[in-house]
Amino acid sequence: MGHEALPATKSHPADDRGPITSKRQRRPSGQPPPLPRELGASGRFWIGSLLALLAFTILLLVTTVGASIDRQESVFLRWIAEGRTGWLNRAMLTVNGLGSTAVTRTLRLGTIIALIGFRRWRHLVVLVISLLLVAWLTGKIGQFFIRPRPFGVRIIGGWDGSSLPSRPVAELSVALIGIMYTLLPRGGLRSAAKFIAAVLLGALAAAELYLGLNHPADIVFALVLGIGIPLVAFRLFVPNAVFPVHYGKGRAAHLDVRGARGEAIRQAVHDQLGMTVLDVKPVGLAGSGGSTPLRLTVVGDPDHHLFAKLYAKTHLRADRSYKLGRTILYGTLEDEKSYNSVRRLVQYEDYMMLVMHDFGIPCAKTYGFVEITPEREYLLVNEFFEGGTEITEAEVDDALIDDALATIRRMWDLGVAHRDVKPANIMVRDGKIMLIDLAFGEIRPSPWRQAVDLANMMLVLALRTDPDRVYQRALRFFAPEEIAEAFAATRRVTMPSQSRTMLKRHRKEGRDILARFRELAPKHPPIAIQRWSVQRIGLTLIVLLGMLLALLLVIDNLRTGAL
């Protein structure tokens, strides 16, 4: 969706039957998007294997094919057992130790502790769920499908429970896959680990067959469960393209724009906006947690920069969690609702930019947004403020204060609100302010929210100057009662965290800016914003219950050895 006028196109008279040409290219139906959601060949293979396993299980349930398989497997195992020798028995018993609870549990807990240490929470959650799911499935299949250990051969070594599926193989598989996909960066190291894992699993499988502990089918079942489930889970829920495993700096919310995603961005901007991207560079990552901000260099005369924000499903989830946390802590703010899709979020911000721009509010011009992966990733492209600086680094004089306050006044009069007025969202260029990040903007906001916008703007200006001066300038645009209302509506929850942190620093130095504003303004009773509701109480109880259940689940699984 682009807003810039289309490049020169052919006219479209009634007698012209030729195609209208454009630099923009429509993606034909059925063609993959710039960055297709890829499970990879191995992901597809393991999904196929899991489905085949399910089909085979149903076959075993409804037919008597199992008896025939039993006999064939016994013949094979007897053939192996006839070749047993003393030294090989000892060697195989040692190899069989790879599947012991001590080894697999050490690997599992070691990985979990490492992930906690690296604060890789998403990987941790997927790993723990995979471990529990594999343990549960292995247990349930073993419970329902009680299968004796191999007949016709002397069993050497310890065993526990049904032969199907092989629990040691399943446990070692899930532990090794967990290490590979949560701790090892993609590339040479992970490839080497895959080879080592294959060798270890092959050795354990061989030992189990040699010792007569399991049938071949038990091992195949265990491998499919132990590899397939975690691998598919990691590919689906923490894909490397979105959540790469790396050991450098960088916030989790920011996506890696190198490699396939970088190429996809170039292709998407070219095809959907008709612009040729020369370079994609992350900028201002420190001030943004809700998206991945980028600077695009595009071909032009001369080449120029565009600002772009990459939104992904992960940002949407972060937004939901943030709002859930706020609802529990403070109650539902009257105008805070979560978005239900990334597309909606980007569409909304794009629309707000168009509206604000049309209203004459100083903000970046939007060029529209492009689809990277349908319903998962979108890139919002807009004007880049060449030569612009954040207000914290700009010179703030009376003219700039007036400009900022006049902007708020205009927004009041037009019936719009920014809702996230903080230093990082106020840029200054040529002595004028420009508002950025309109994702939270609103048309026809509540009077309370408009009042909060004013208070937040005055606080930002006072951080760079002093409250008395800002108050005096504000009286040129607002009545004293309106300013009083603004500060009566201001609470900790209404102030962006960046402003809060800076105010705290000033307070420590003996300058309480907020208190000073309240002294200057006429007295106004505080405006209540925190609301107790059935929803808030219910949510709090659900979250507490969920945490308690999760804790009990972990304790129980630690006790039973599933973790």
């Binding site: 409804v62 006999r71 047993r84």
Partner: protein
């Protein structure tokens, strides 16, 4: 047609699930009974001449669960009056009967020594019963909830019985398989 196929599939699956449920319960051999867990118990203690099994569950008694591993297997039964895990049946190679007293066998029981080791009388009845036989020992551990009586112990005892390894060997031989252990030597 599709609905019919779906119904047939669902019915097949449900009947299959029922069969699977049975496979976990160590029911004594009989028509339409799955003996998988009995074979697994026999493999757990290859020297044992007998394996414990449940002939029928008396009213109010249900299968609780089982754990079968090499050298040790056990299953337990729950009762609506005697509580959960009211009786645990354990099969091991041998057992300590030093604190128990020998009691005469009941009619119809296989040739084996029976010992009783009462620990507590009602209202919280608990105690052990041992059946010692060549190559193995079966222990019944009674641990009743308060309020249960000897009647429940009698019910449980009547539900439990034994199946000989020799029978298992014969059944498997018909399927072309060997049950290794007592009396049957296997390769390796």
């Amino acid at each position: 047609m599709a609905r019919l196929a779906l119904a047939v599939m669902a019915a097949s699956l449900l009947s299959g699930c029922a069969r699977l449920q049975d496979s976990a319960v160590p029911l004594c051999p009989g028509p339409d009974r799955n003996s998988a867990s009995l074979f697994l118990m026999a493999q757990a203690v290859p020297s044992a001449a007998y394996v414990p099994c449940v002939s029928e569950f008396p009213a109010g008694w249900t299968f609780g669960g089982q754990r079968i591993r090499n050298a040790h297997s056990e299953f337990w039964m729950d009762s609506d009056r005697a509580g959960s895990r009211a009786v645990t049946v354990v099969l091991t190679r041998d057992c300590d009967t030093s604190r128990a007293v020998v009691v005469p066998q009941e009619a119809g029981e296989p040739p084996m020594k029976r010992f009783e080791e009462p620990n507590a009388l009602p209202p919280t009845l608990s105690g052990n019963r041992y059946y010692v036989f060549p190559g193995g020992c079966i222990t019944y551990r009674f641990s009743f909830a308060p309020g249960a009586t000897f009647a429940q112990a009698v019910e449980a005892s009547q539900a439990l019985t034994f199946v000989s390894r020799a029978l298992g060997v014969t059944v498997l031989a018909r399927e072309g398989q060997l049950l290794c252990g007592r009396g049957v030597r296997c390769p390796g």
